[in-house]
Amino acid sequence: MSHGPSAAGGAALKSSSHGHAVAPYKQVFVGETRDRLEELIKRYPTRQAVLLPALWMVQDANGWVSEEGMVETADVLGLTPAYVKGVVTFYTMYHQHPVGRYFIQVCTTTPCNVCGAEDVVNAFLKQTGCEELGVTSPDGKFTVIEVECLGACGFATPVMVNSEFLENVTPDRVPDIVGRLKRS
């Protein structure tokens, strides 16, 4: 939702599939994954406590957390889909729609901001061909967003590519980084 100008977060991530072809939903909590989940549950006194780890499993399997993913997770843990959705929308690392093959997050909070983080963002936008923040590139390969403090302020500017954590990224390093991603 949220169509109006909002204080935070650059371009609001729009709730469509962004021109991505959405594959039919594949069950996540079966076989080995289900066993792993049940093992995790043993660490806590409630099933609900593994909701965040379970959602990570869904995102790791499917690249994002779809509504079907929320329903499946809710069923497995004995929660309602609405409850799960409330949790998914709270935590910014869960994608609520498909994203590019390489999800690039550039920290622009103040410590990195004063070290030129915005130039790094622009460099990524240019190199990846993404027209704006949060909108996947036409070839489906890249989505670039600004992110809040990644906790690596002394190694400005940190950038995450999916779960890969890059440190000390400067604008002149960006062409190589993106080039490597394009080739893989």
């Binding site: 169509h3 109006g4 509504e67 889909p81 609405a82 959705k85 409330g86």
Partner: protein, 526 residues
């Protein structure tokens, strides 16, 4: 509970003693101090998020949220000093920065807590110069519309669905000023008690689709009543405008319905407005029905009934008073009998409140009918004999009832409508419905509760007890009744279960009938 220690504190200069574990906000109520609040509700778990109830507690470094702070011995609490007022003004200003200026088109206007508190303590102007946040209206399913722009995120609705209805179908989605109340598509608000979120919403964010744009809050007259939907007997408020019932809302009663009523009960208001009423007494004439005056009508009815066997089909939606008088009619007739049918539906409990449900029996006075000696039967007219006069007392008739009724020697209708297809109706006497007269119902737990008159009955209809009292008079009974309370007093005098009850004692909360044991002990006979 008796052994909970009391705590003494001072609120706004007034001393009070409350049980330990009471919050400051509740304690303030005992000395007549209303601490402004939004998210707190006595029927919901404490949230403490709106920050409207911040009060100044002596010696505390920060303002304390009164809804979430427990009383302590010797506390001195101030609600209306500059510090606390300033905080409230701040909250109000913050709530209004994204709030649309919708009052002219918002249903909540006139009963809106944001309006009320802003009028009292808010700013006269807005300092907000930025574009307001906008989200489109959403249909939450059931009867509920959600207008996100007006939402103050008090989360009462979320907490109701989660902790009272025990079905978390509403959530808070997103974070920060992007947050809104969400549900999951395809799994929306069809819970049988979900309409309560509309009542709970302090502003016009959650609205009833049924009531949308129908009336203004200040146009409505409000009358205390009881829901006629089922045997639970939820206490209600009947809201009328120009003699039309616009809606029903729950009235709190700890012993019956907490703070809530079900969606089905809310829809019963429509029946109270039906227009296909008998508005004058009618008498059979040349194959049709002819309007006549009351005196003649009562006389005619009396003539039909006198000395005859009577069979009374008494609706379980009639008041105790009416049923009592009907029973008298049955008693003075030789071989008089009475029965009723009650429609049933699915039971729908409100899981988070003890002993509260939409009951399977969809009539408000089944227990009253039973106590008066009427029998429940799915086919109540099977035992109607050819020599009996059938009194249809506002009881709905099915096709096979009509067939059985044809057997009767004569039919007298005492009701709000004239049932279609019913032949050999000798006399029809129009009565008020439960919104148009006062009376009492007895709920499934034996609680006797008063309902008051909320609107005027159409045409020449009269209260049910008044018509029946006149009819009894025509049949030779000496007691004359000019008020419903007089009928109730007669009922209490003659029926051990009701002994000792009076309208005054019943008040607006009701009282339970005596148990059989108590009745036996009181020396009465059921």
């Amino acid at each position: 509970m008796a052994d909970t220690p009391l705590v003494n504190l001072t609120i706004e200069g007034r001393q009070t003693s409350v049980p330990a574990g009471t919050t400051i906000l509740e304690a303030a109520k005992t000395v007549g101090v209303l601490i402004p609040h939004y998210c707190y509700h006595p029927g919901l778990p404490i949230a403490g998020v709106c920050r409207m109830c911040l009060v100044d507690v002596e010696k505390a470094p920060k303002l304390a949220p009164a809804c979430a702070t427990y009383v302590a011995e010797g506390q001195v609490v101030t609600v209306h000093n500059a510090k606390a007022r300033d905080a409230r003004t701040g909250v109000l200003e913050m709530l209004l920065i994204n709030h649309p200026l919708d009052c002219p088109i918002c249903d909540q206007s006139g009963e809106c807590e944001l309006q009320d508190y802003t009028y009292a303590e808010g700013r006269a102007d807005s300092r907000y110069r930025e574009p307001k946040r906008f989200n489109p209206v959403e249909d939450f399913g059931g009867d509920v519309l959600y207008v996100p722009n007006r939402c103050i995120l008090c989360t009462r609705c979320v907490r109701f669905m989660e902790d009272v209805a025990k079905e978390p179908t509403l959530n808070v989605s997103e974070r920060g000023d992007r947050a809104y109340i969400g549900c999951f598509e395809g799994k929306d608000l069809t819970h049988p008690w979900s309409g309560n979120v509309v009542d709970l919403c302090p502003v016009g964010a959650l609205l009833s689709k049924d009531f949308l744009n129908k009336a203004r809050a200040w146009e409505l007259d409000r009358t205390a009543s009881v829901c006629p939907g089922c045997t639970q007997g939820c206490n209600t408020i009947v809201e009328t405008r120009d003699n039309v019932v616009m809606r029903l809302k729950p009235r709190s009663n700890e012993d019956v319905n907490g703070y809530f009523m079900c969606d089905y009960g809310r829809t019963t208001y429509r029946a109270l407005n039906r227009r296909d009423r008998i508005e004058t007494p009618l008498v059979a004439d040349n194959g049709g029905m002819e309007s006549i005056g009351w005196e003649l009508a009562i006389e005619s009815a009396g003539n039909v009934l006198r000395g005859r066997k009577v069979f009374i089909l008494a609706s379980p939606s009639l008041s105790n008073e009416a049923l009592h008088l009907l029973k008298r009619i049955s008693a003075i007739s030789d071989g008089g009998r009475g029965a009723f049918r009650v429609e049933r539906g699915d039971e729908a409990p409100l899981a988070g409140v003890e002993d509260l449900a939409l009951r399977a029996e969809r009539a408000p006075n089944v227990r009253g009918a039973e106590l008066m000696g009427f029998r429940e039967s799915d086919s109540p007219l099977t035992e109607l004999t050819r020599d009996a006069v059938l009194i249809v007392a506002d009881h709905p008739l099915r096709a096979n009832d009509i067939t059985h009724a044809a057997r009767a020697a004569a039919v007298i209708v005492i009701g709000t409508t004239l049932p279609e297809g019913l032949r050999n109706v000798a006399v029809a006497l129009p009565i008020a419905n439960m919104a148009e007269e006062e009376g009492t119902f007895t709920n499934l737990r034996g609680r006797v509760q008063r309902f008051l008159q909320a609107k005027v009955a159409p045409g020449e209809s009269r209260p049910s007890w008044s018509v029946l009292a006149d009819l009894l008079g025509a049949l030779g009974e000496s007691a004359q009744h000019y008020t419903a309370s007089s009928v109730f007093a007669a009922l209490a005098a003659s029926h051990a279960d009701f002994s000792g009850l009076t309208y005054d004692r019943l008040g607006l909360r009701g009282l339970p009938v005596l148990t059989a044991q108590q009745a036996a002990g009181a020396g009465g006979v059921a």
